[in-house]
Amino acid sequence: MTTSVISAAANSRTTASAQGSIELRQVRKTYGDVVAVDELDLVVEPGEFVTLLGPSGSGKTTTMMMVAGFEEHTSGSVLIDGKPVDALPPRDRNLGVVFQNYALFPHMTARENVEFALRMRKVPKAERRQRAETALDRVGLGTMGGRKPRQLSGGQQQRVALARALVFNPAALLLDEPMAALDKRLREHMQEEIKTLQKSLGISVLFVTHDQDEAMAMSDRIVVMKDGRIVQSGPPEEVYNHPLTDWVASFLGDTNLIPCTVLERKDGEALVDLGGLGIGRVRDRGVTGEKYAVSIRPEHLKFSSEASPDNCGPATLVSSTNLGATVRHRLTAGGHELQVRELSSDASGRPASGAELFVAWEPDKAQLLVLEQ
């Protein structure tokens, strides 16, 4: 159960997938009157780890199933390696798929499961056995090949499913909430393993999850979906620190949403009136809407001993809760409820609740966004 086993074994891989792009063009899927996915444009570059993140019903799994070929899209086009695959059945799309509950064949051993794709491709027995062994070694299960799935733990079943999906050198890997059934510790461990494996193989991955921590930890790019549409797409830090709407900001973790009036917008920066928190400078990505707010993550809001004219406002400390590694402070400022989070090691010597103080932020860590809700 060590990451090093996998990374060491992964280096022995001989065939790298330099190819493996996935592209969706204006893909739309309807079930009767219900639009499940609408006007979806998405590109997974070769070797890229892209996560479809969204709540249930956002269309992320439907999108993946259309890429895999299990669902037919109503209109639009899906391309793998630049070629349209709309008319191809799943078996001819050459994609490795790991399902939510692994879907291992229960009556076959782990090795037979891994060999299955090679058997379907009429690979000679000796070669497919050897390749299956290599694939199992790669996921650290070299000695477990003779076991049936029910004799394996959840994490081991997950590895077998990975080995099975990778053994035939697919163009890309599709992962449908593969860690949903694992407990928290094992999940974090598997996240690292999968990420390490993906990097060393250089394989493109389309990953579906509703868990924002998982998406943050693993992705090169996060595509946030809501109601069948993409609401924001970008590297994890960007989506997290610079959400475009309040919905994205709240979906990706705790945040302080402060309604504001825009005074001036120029060169990616905006001057906003935050009411009781005064005037402040924040990042601006040019989104337009009826109502605006500023999102500042709790860890980006700092206490300040003295007032300054910009990016700073007076606040009253309401309560402080020690969460172990971090301390959560609740404050009120100009009629807004605010949350500040800091490391426990930085929190010593803070004033008790009821104290009057100032909170400050860096313009780069505060994001102007559209208030939808």
């Binding site: 879907a103 064949f105 794709a117 491709r121 999906a165």
Partner: protein, 275 residues
């Protein structure tokens, strides 16, 4: 049952006569068949295998046995094929009129056999194929199919639909999907379905009677016609034979099929004994 309370003891006591009532009339044919007498009598006067030997020496009885086994073979093969295909085809699907389709498949279980018998009789007469065992086997297949459908459907309930998708994504065609995904799951259901089909056909009398010809007389029909004229112990022998076959089938089911959880939701074990 170490800690039997009075209530449980009473239930046990009450169930013994019920058990005897159910089993004894069926089991009684065995001593009768081994009776050392020229007629069916009870209690047996002595143990002898003369009647058994006489049964197998009589061409009329052995050909009736062969006819029964042939029609059962036809019913099992066709019933298993149709029932299994229907169960797989309808598995995990929803479409308008689905309940009607299921009802149609199950109808032969509910429609009175005598109605079916008349219908089959007229149908096969008009085709001009009466006179061989084939029409009887086909008619038996029709009433056997719902049993196979039900047992197969019960085992399919334990199938993870993602298995089909995962096989497809790994490059399997429909034949491989059937072989590697469906077959291992439905095998217990197929075996119990086949046993049901066999016992339904072996036991079936009304349709076989309607469609009987001198060259196509099944064992139950032969028993029924003979018992009106003679009281030969060969009738008891054939009854004992059918009881033995049914019991063996039941044992097989208990040992190899019921052990698997996937058929735990199976039909009640309605393996019927000969009348």
């Amino acid at each position: 049952m170490q800690t039997t309370n009075p209530r449980q003891r009473l239930l046990t006591l009450l169930s013994i006569p019920v058990f005897l009532f159910l089993v004894v009339p069926t089991a009684i044919v065995v001593p009768v068949a081994l009776n050392d007498s020229r007629y069916i009598t009870f209690p047996p006067e002595g143990i002898s295998f003369a009647a058994v030997a006489g049964f197998f020496a009589d061409k009329a009885w052995t050909s009736a046995l062969t006819a029964s086994l042939q029609s059962a073979a036809i019913a099992v093969v066709i019933g298993v094929l149709l029932g299994a295909m229907a169960a797989i085809g309808l598995h995990g699907r929803k479409f308008p009129g689905q309940q009607a389709v299921v009802g149609l498949i199950l109808a032969p279980m509910i429609v009175p056999t005598v109605v079916l018998a008349l219908a089959f009789y007229q149908f096969f007469i008009s085709l001009g194929v009466l006179g061989s065992i084939l029409p009887i086997g086909l008619a038996h297949a029709v009433i056997a199919t719902p049993y196979v459908y039900l047992t197969t459907r019960a085992s399919l309930a334990g199938l993870n639909p993602a298995l089909v998708r995962s096989a497809l994504s790994l490059g399997a065609g429909w034949l491989s999907v059937f072989r590697y995904v469906y077959l291992p799951v439905i095998l217990p259901g197929l075996v119990s379905g086949a046993l049901f089909a066999f016992s339904v056909s072996i036991d079936e009398t009304v349709m076989s009677l309607f469609m009987q010809t001198p060259s196509a007389t099944t064992l139950p029909v032969k028993m029924l016609t003979d018992i009106q004229f003679t009281l030969t112990p060969k009738i008891a022998v054939s009854s004992a034979l059918l009881v033995t076959v049914a019991t063996l089938g039941l044992l097989f089911q208990v040992m190899f099929v019921l052990k698997r959880r996937s058929t735990a939701r199976m039909l009640p074990l309605a393996v019927s004994a000969p009348n």
